[in-house]
Amino acid sequence: MTENELLEHARQGDHRAFQSLVECFQQPIATVVKGILGDCAEAEDVGQEVFIRFYKSMHQFNGKSTLKTYLTCIAINLSLNELKKKKSFLSINNGELQNTFMVQQADSSKFEDQELIDNALNLLPYKQRSIVVLRLMQGYSVKETAIILKIPEGTVLSRLSRAQETLQRILRPLITVML
């Protein structure tokens, strides 16, 4: 069944069709949510909330965007809300986190690649992080990223440029292996 057929069945109350939709889209949504929030318990909760919100609003989905983009919008909004809730905590601990990371980075062999990527993403301000996740990890175009985040394309490009500089600096060991 195609995603549109699954959606139609789900709208008529078919549990299995809805579950199939969840299974189809859980990976890209995990990338968005965990890319922004990190691989933590809150990210699992936010991921579940994304699909519950989608369930509640699927009758309003009009097909103007793809289903993946629609779910990504919900995921971005919920993830950024969750980040704002944690913001006060992060602002207190960010300096400490950064110092710890820099010490650990000096011996990057201790880090698995995935941990290095997670930490690099965590060091980005959340506005840049959401752009990196959409543009570089999910492959959305600049225009699509701007629409999803409701910001001008110029802002996407400037934040992306700053984020790239930071990531290229931190992920240098991994990038040079690729080059």
Partner: protein, 140 residues
């Protein structure tokens, strides 16, 4: 020139290059090696980031289904209940606006007339209840 090439580079990653752009880009890379280097580094960064495969814990979809079923989201909403809910929602917006208008009216009345009595509202002195009834019928 370099600005134009940077724009082309963005278009390249958007998969939005025209035929003419595709011909122009290699020449640009040849003329500006630093741009070619930038492209390589960006491509590598994208590869590195896309290597990070995030996934939810096993049983994720089952957990969602259990949650949805436990709060009976699957129940098809009754049109009457839906209408009432919408009406309630509308009332929450209309009621404070109406109350605000009434309060503003009473304040302005008090400021202009020095009172908020029935006489001040109707603009007629010494109006009795019977007069008010008679006046309202008189209009018909």
């Amino acid at each position: 020139m370099i600005k134009k090439l940077k724009k082309l580079l963005i278009k390249l990653y958007d998969n939005n290059l025209s035929h003419k752009d595709q011909e122009e880009l290699p020449n640009g890379f040849a003329a500006f090696p630093e741009l070619a280097q930038e492209k390589e580094e960006l491509s590598s960064l994208i590869q590195v980031l896309q290597k990070r495969n995030y996934s939810f814990q096993p049983g994720f979809s089952e957990k969602i289904m259990r949650k949805i079923e436990s709060v009976s989201y699957f129940a098809i909403p009754d049109p009457r209940e839906y209408f009432e809910a919408q009406l309630n929602l509308l009332f929450r917006w209309v009621a404070p606006a109406g109350a605000a208008v009434i309060i503003i009216f009473l304040i302005s009345l008090y400021l202009t007339q020095g009172s908020i009595s029935v006489n001040a509202i109707t603009g007629i002195d010494n109006l009795t209840f019977n007069d008010a009834i008679t006046l309202s019928f008189y209009n018909y």
